[in-house]
């Protein structure tokens, strides 16, 4: 059996993406938990700060962003940890496909299972907070641009903490500070819209961040996975 397979980025991406999406589809519990967490935490704020419609309208975009960020954070260990624990990750590293390909595929699948449902649900939560229809659309746009960036940043941090002591809290300490710029521009977009300014600078910066992140972060993820498998 001397047959060699030429690995390509695209084939690796497709394979890992299909595998992880299928896994997420067959174990919908995790995605549903993330969504339930998102809705639950977003519902706690009006109970905590008082149900004054003016106040809720003002804090709505920020609260929804923080909830989405925390929900995305909760699902981070799922990207690599399970595959690392049972040795699958090591087998994947031996595959002929470049690591950046299948790692990107896994990150994309993570976004499909966490960031995308949150983005789709966010208008519903935004209605609970009484946001105007146009800031609702801006919020969804910002989430659509920002949550993939969260998945990318989170994947790098998740790969760094593979096999570390105190996993969850450590992951929070690493990932949440790196999420700050995404939160600032994401929540800023909807807030700018609500105060009558143009949200496009914020959205452009988020888009630029996503492009840079999508180019640079898979390399960091690969380096982190290699360190973990050493």
């Amino acid at each position: 059996m001397n047959e060699t397979v030429d690995g390509t980025f695209a084939a690796g991406f497709r394979w890992a993406f299909a595998r992880d999406v299928r896994l997420a589809w067959r174990h919908p519990g995790e995605t549903l938990l993330v969504i339930a967490f998102f809705i639950l935490v977003a519902s706690l704020f009006p109970l905590g700060v008082g149900a004054d419609p003016g106040l809720l309208q003002r804090i709505g975009p920020g609260v929804i962003w923080v909830c989405a960020l925390l929900a995305a954070f909760l699902s981070l260990p799922g990207i690599f940890a399970a595959d690392y624990a049972d040795g699958t990750l090591e087998q994947m590293a031996l595959s002929p496909h470049p690591m950046a390909g299948w790692a990107s595929g896994k990150i994309a699948a993570h976004w499909i299972a966490s960031g995308l449902p949150l983005t789709i649900l966010s208008p519903l939560i935004a209605l609970q907070y009484g946001l105007a229809p146009d800031s609702l659309a801006v919020l969804a746009c910002a989430l659509a641009l920002g949550t993939p960036l969260l998945s990318l940043l989170g994947a790098a941090c998740g790969a760094l903490t593979l096999g570390a002591r105190g996993g969850g809290v450590l992951l929070a300490l690493l990932a949440l500070p790196l999420f700050v710029p995404v939160l600032v521009f994401g929540a800023g977009a909807a807030e700018a819209q609500a105060t009558g300014l143009s949200p496009s600078p914020h959205l452009s910066l988020l888009g630029a961040g996503l492009i840079v992140g999508a180019m640079a972060l898979p390399a960091a993820v690969c380096a982190a996975v290699r360190i973990a498998l050493d």
Binding site: A156, C157, L160, T161, G163, A164, R165, G166, L170, L173, L174, L176, P177, L178, V180, P181, V184, A220, A223, A224, I227, A228, D230
Partner: protein, 250 residues
């Protein structure tokens, strides 16, 4: 004559080298700090707008400079340790991190005390202060990640990669006062000239020199401790410190 650049990358050589140099850096730090504080607190005139409270600048600005610069140096050592796979570079990165975190904290703390009388508030969520806070958490993350693994080399590499990812934050801090029009004032010092009294400038530069020397001194002392801990099973450490037990947990 060829210079062996890797001569000092051997931990045992560097251990003695660092031990010989560290007291000099501390002495220089003490001298510069004495001179800087004298100029800052006695010689420098009272500020026309802010009164006496501006004198926080002699601690605040050097601390803020060091917080960013030390992160850059730490990330440079981290990159060196990943590319050349040198143990000592990773140990240096670890040794710098606590000092960097300390200076970041000092910059935030003195900034709060400066902010209260001049801005009327201890804290604002503006871009520079927020990104400096993120820097503090990057330092904490580095320290936590470096010590989170059974195998110290694994911790070295993971933390090194984190330090390199975190470098993105440095230009954000540095340019934040130009990119966003916020409460935090812009810089009064640049290479083209300064908008402050010359004795204020010298006081600040002397304090920056003192912080610089202090950082090098503490990094050298700390790296010596790390070297002894890591190399405790080697013959040269056992000859040097016979009292160290052969197996220390951790």
């Amino acid at each position: 004559m060829t210079i062996n650049w890797f001569y000092f990358s051997s931990p045992s050589t560097f251990y003695r080298f660092a031990g010989a140099l560290a007291p000099w850096f501390f002495a220089l730090a003490a001298l510069a700090a004495t001179a800087g504080l004298y100029i800052g607190l006695v010689v420098a005139p009272t500020d026309a707008q802010q009164g006496e409270v501006y004198r926080v600048i002699f601690v605040h600005v050097p601390a803020a400079w060091m917080s960013m610069f030390l992160y850059f140096i730490m990330a440079a050592y981290a990159a060196m340790s990943l590319t050349f796979n040198t143990r000592l570079a990773a140990m240096m990165a670890r040794a710098i991190a606590p000092t960097g975190a300390m200076f970041t904290f000092v910059a935030l703390w003195t900034g709060a005390f400066w902010g209260k009388p001049t801005w009327g508030t201890y804290w604002v969520w503006d871009a520079r202060i927020t990104s400096e806070l993120v820097l503090l958490f990057l330092y904490f993350g580095f320290i936590a990640l470096a010590s989170a693994f059974e195998d110290p080399r694994r911790g070295d590499r993971a933390a090194a990669l984190l330090a390199i990812i975190g470098v993105v934050n440095l230009p954000i801090i540095y340019f934040s006062v130009q990119w966003w029009n916020t409460l935090h004032q812009g810089s009064s010092v640049s290479f083209k000239g300064t908008s402050m009294h010359v004795s204020m400038l010298y006081g600040m530069l002397l304090m920056a020199l003192a912080s610089w020397m202090y950082s090098i001194g503490t990094a050298l002392v700390r790296v010596r401790a790390i070297i002894v801990e890591r190399e405790r099973r080697t013959r040269w450490v056992r000859d040097l410190h016979p009292a160290i037990p052969r197996s220390v947990p951790g």
